[in-house]
Amino acid sequence: MVQYGGDEVAALVVDIGSSTLRAGYAGDDTPKAIIPTYYGYKSQPPDADVSMSGIGDDPSAHNSRIAKMFVGQDGPSIYREGMEVGNPMKEGLIEDFNPITPLIRHALEDVMCIRPADHPILVTEPAWNTPANRERMAEIIFEEFNAPAFYIANTSVLNAFAAGKGSALVIDIGHSEASVTPVIDGFVLRKGLVHSSLPALVHKRAKHVLTQPDQNRRGINLLPHQLVANKAPVDPGFEPQFNVREDRLQGITKSWRNWAENREASEWIHSVASVLDQGWNEQAVAARGARQYEFPTGYNYHFGAERFEIGELFFAHPQHLQAANPNLPKSLPQLISASVTSCEPDIRQVLLSNVVLGGGGSLFAGLADRLNNELNRIFNHAKIHAPGNPAERRYGSWLGGSILASLGTFHQLWISKEEWQEHGRPIVGQRCK
């Protein structure tokens, strides 16, 4: 049954998030290849699509018209005339499998320079992944990459294990989804699993706040650097002085523009946004002070209250937002309460004493401290374990997979190619529990 022990051939670990795809050797402490999950593509002009005629109703027809894909660090971020930007992920799950093979291939073959057919591959999945999705992933790894062995591991369980805990309440905040998963003795309690697009909301709100004028400043133009020809230094708050690359303006697509502006908003969030440790308080905001940030256009400004308002969205939604949109994604305290109360009373204390915080989004400045305060306000004796090392938090699930797949003793769990050929899809659900 066992052909491939982790000791003889280095296994590979592939962790696909909605912002980046992480790949590397099992046993390493950081992934070798970190590439954007966003990819650029150019469509074939419809009239050139002769061979594809007659399949207009096929949902994959859209993708079959993709003439060229641009992936990796030189993918969407390079200006190309007429290039659109896509992302295969939706709510943390792979929605469109077509770009997945090129993305993984780029990470393994172009960045890591290896032959995937030589290595067992461990892939991670979120706790709410569907059986059809994981089987499709197994198919890709075996059929497209010819890998000798495959395993798919749950990110929540990996995060809990990496904290040394068999039982934990795992809070994973990613690029677009935030999830709360109760794990008991290494197994996910499905009924307590909740997730929402909270990080996406925070991001959208940040973009909105920046582009809208307020009493002190005008709306900010999030023009990306690819479209700025040159700029002159200006004083904070003054009208930016820059020239647009007119030659490029015609060639950009709506999806690319949107992606590029979102990236500018993300940069702003990473640089200046923060959350107060004790809830909203004007004095605390004043005490923490404003922070200067400059956009690609040269516009710069001292951001004060705005940079904290954004962070509050993780914990509570302002009433005017809630009134305008009753279906806002649940805030972190709401997610946690929903998760904990759907579990049996006798395990609630175990979960709350072992809260594990992970995911790149959890590195939002001040979030871990605030979460700790909020939890202790709602529940007694809640305790958060958040790795202090940012790499451990950002790549926690990759790292967990890396350690697991590097163990010689783990070999009995791999699904070998022979087993796949003999049993087919059902073996994935049987082996990867």
Binding site: A153, F161, G164, G186, I403, L404, T409
Partner: protein
């Protein structure tokens, strides 16, 4: 999802001696250096001088904690916990100790191997998981044991 790490034969032998023969007050288990097997790292006999000299259960438990939390190593401990509720009783208590100061690889293998050990130890009445001293303090554990 488990690491596939197995148990050394001695793990169960000493556990049986504790459970049936009440030979030991506690046993400590840990991963071997290669992280390929769980071994019984150390144990303390009920009749040993260190235990026999101590009069209260709390002191015995504290001695156990000293051994359990030594260094930055992840360990499992089985402690024969004695308490009073309408007379003297005892419960076998299983404690997982993974301090934040331990290495991530060790924590990962430790947590993913626990099931192999725990499932083999039949008759454990209480289970506690800790990563700092508050989690496994005498009062905390006593409260759980009494439930």
């Amino acid at each position: 999802m488990a690491s596939g790490v197995g148990l050394h034969n001695e793990c169960l032998t000493v556990y049986q001696e504790l459970k049936l023969g009440h030979k030991y007050k506690y046993i400590l288990y840990a991963l071997n250096d290669a992280k390929t097997e769980i071994v019984a790292e150390s144990k303390r006999e009920v009749k040993s001088k260190e235990i026999a000299d101590l009069t209260s259960e709390e002191e015995k438990y504290k001695l156990f904690l000293q051994d359990l939390t030594k260094g930055s190593t992840c360990r499992w401990g089985v402690f024969d916990f004695e308490y009073f509720v309408e007379g003297k009783r005892n419960k076998l208590t299983f404690i997982s100790w993974a301090p934040a100061s331990s290495k991530i690889k060790e924590r990962m293998v430790f947590a993913s191997s626990k099931d192999a050990l725990r499932r083999s130890l039949v008759g454990i009445a209480t289970e506690v998981q800790g990563s700092d001293e508050d989690d496994i303090a005498y009062e905390t554990v006593l409260e759980k044991v009494k439930k």
